[in-house]
Amino acid sequence: MNMICIMCPMGCPLTVEENNGVITVQGHTCPRGKKYGEQEFTAPVRVLTTLVKRADGGMASAKTSGPIPKDKVREAAECVGKIVVSADVKIGDIIEENFYADGVNLVITGVAQ
């Protein structure tokens, strides 16, 4: 399987193969690329960054504090779209704990003015 490492802007082209249960990664420049290749091959994950509404009608931005399964991203985004947070949220506030992955929280990243 060919893929592009997206862990940094280098964008190394990776080739990931599985032989007798052993996964090999080629093309990476650093260890993070190897890890990404293995992960993307077995269980791809993504960080979701999205928007939540504030009670005062304004917007706040939010992210998952860590990656969640790639095939849950759309569902998670729809779920976040229905959340209304209080008007005085601040950067770093946790909105939901264990959000689509264990130990991953939905966190406020910014408040529009």
Binding site: G11, P13, A112
Partner: protein
């Protein structure tokens, strides 16, 4: 009475804040002038992550990256004027500002330009057809969506595969719109690979390279558009025109440094970067005026913006306090596939190292980056891939720089 500052920073984005902080660390009295209601610049609307991995060592979203700097600025004795727009800069460094208090003039020992850039608009690219509603720049759509919660359309085509366009393709998809197609005139994307993968491929959004829009249809609102592949000269092949229904067109066709303040001033400009020509201290040809961030050249990584701004800010402080001597400089030339290199000038005969940033003009595989001084090779590095969308950096030893420098690909 006219106020005087050692360093006046125009623009309070990541460049302006980093410049102000480093000038302050040098002991300068610093003012930041920002036309928006808050500091942070373009970062406030970039809610995606990917900021700060290199500079902070942590992957942050735009507003979080900005917030780190805002908190630092607020913790120092740095004056900040918000909702204040610099309307004029004079050669003797008087900064004229329109602010809530009225029209004020501030005297500056040194000025740091950190005004960022603006997006190319429909006017800058000639699209034939009607002039319907529903055509936005990608950054404007991003601002409306992320700051106001307003989705500009339901069925979207994006022209240009710059990062803002790619990011908006994902954003609008997640907000419930259908992104039909991304059209890119060039045979490659100017956006980061990561964005091609995570914003398009993840959502099965097709991208057509070497394609462009031929006609817009609809009145008063866009109802669809025609597009076609282009030949080697980038002229559309009209026989192969196709139609796609859409109510929205986002333009992601490039950014232009916002250097209008320099009109009428004797500042040497680069026709390639559309920013000023600078030396290794990021000083322009106008003494005491420095430039950094997107107003100097378009950056794809905010980390590089912060680093560059630190150089400009510290040098501006040195200049204002009489510690920066300008001497003979040599020039840095970009040839053979290298579109531009920056700084364009380096002062002669110094110790230490100097970082030279450059961009290539096309996608190159397996090329060697070579730096020559007066025809003699002083630096060489093999590369796997070089692309116009990604800025490259090389570090040169100052002692090697005895004459004019040439950066090339072989």
């Amino acid at each position: 009475m006219t106020k005087r500052y050692d360093v006046v920073v125009i623009g309070g984005g990541p460049a302006g804040m980093a410049a102000a902080l480093s000038a302050f660390e040098k002991g300068a009295k610093v003012l930041i002038v920002e036309r928006d209601v808050r500091l942070g610049g373009i970062l406030n609307q970039c809610i995606h992550n990917g900021f700060g991995l290199h500079y902070i060592g942590e992957e942050l979203t735009g507003p979080e990256y900005a917030d780190r700097f805002v908190k630092l600025v607020e913790s120092k004795h740095i004056d900040v004027m918000l909702e204040s727009m610099v309307l004029r800069l004079t050669a003797d460094r008087k900064v004229e500002i329109l602010c809530p208090q009225g029209y004020v003039t501030v005297e500056a020992g040194a000025v740091v330009l950190a005004m960022g850039c603006r997006e190319r608009t429909a006017g800058a690219i000639a699209v034939p057809g009607t002039r319907p509603a529903g055509v936005y720049t990608a950054g404007m759509a991003q601002k409306l969506c992320n700051m106001k919660g307003y989705l500009v359309g339901k069925k979207v085509v994006i022209l240009g595969s710059g990062d803002i366009g790619l990011i908006m393709a994902r954003r609008m998809t997640l907000e419930g719109a259908e992104v039909e197609l991304v059209l890119e005139l060039m045979p490659y994307s100017s956006g980061l690979k990561r964005n091609i993968v995570q914003c398009l491929n993840d959502y099965d959004i097709p991208i057509k390279y070497a394609h462009t829009i031929t006609r817009l249809v609809g009145s008063p609102r866009l109802t669809g558009l025609y597009y076609a592949p282009v030949d080697e000269n980038r002229n559309p092949i009209l026989e192969q025109e196709q139609y796609v229904e859409c109510d929205t067109l986002l333009l992601s066709v490039g950014l232009i440094p916002e250097n209008d303040l320099l009109n009428g001033l004797d500042v040497e400009m680069s026709p390639i970067t559309s920013g000023a020509v600078v030396d290794q201290n990021r000083m322009t040809s106008l003494e005491g005026v420095f430039s950094c961030g997107n107003v100097l050249h378009v950056h794809d990584l905010v980390d590089n913006v912060s680093r560059e701004a630190e150089i400009a800010g510290a040098s501006a402080a040195d200049y204002a306090m009489g510690a920066l001597k300008s001497g003979d400089t040599i020039s840095v030339k970009a040839v053979d596939g290298v579109r531009y290199a920056l700084p364009q000038r380096i002062a002669k005969g110094n110790e230490g190292k100097v970082d030279v940033y450059f961009r290539v003009g096309d996608v190159y595989k397996g090329k060697r980056i070579v730096v020559e001084v007066d025809g003699k090779e002083v630096y060489s590095r093999k590369t796997l891939i070089l692309a116009p969308g990604e800025m490259e950096k090389i570090t040169l030893t100052r002692a090697d720089i005895t004459g004019d420098v040439t950066v090339r690909l072989v």
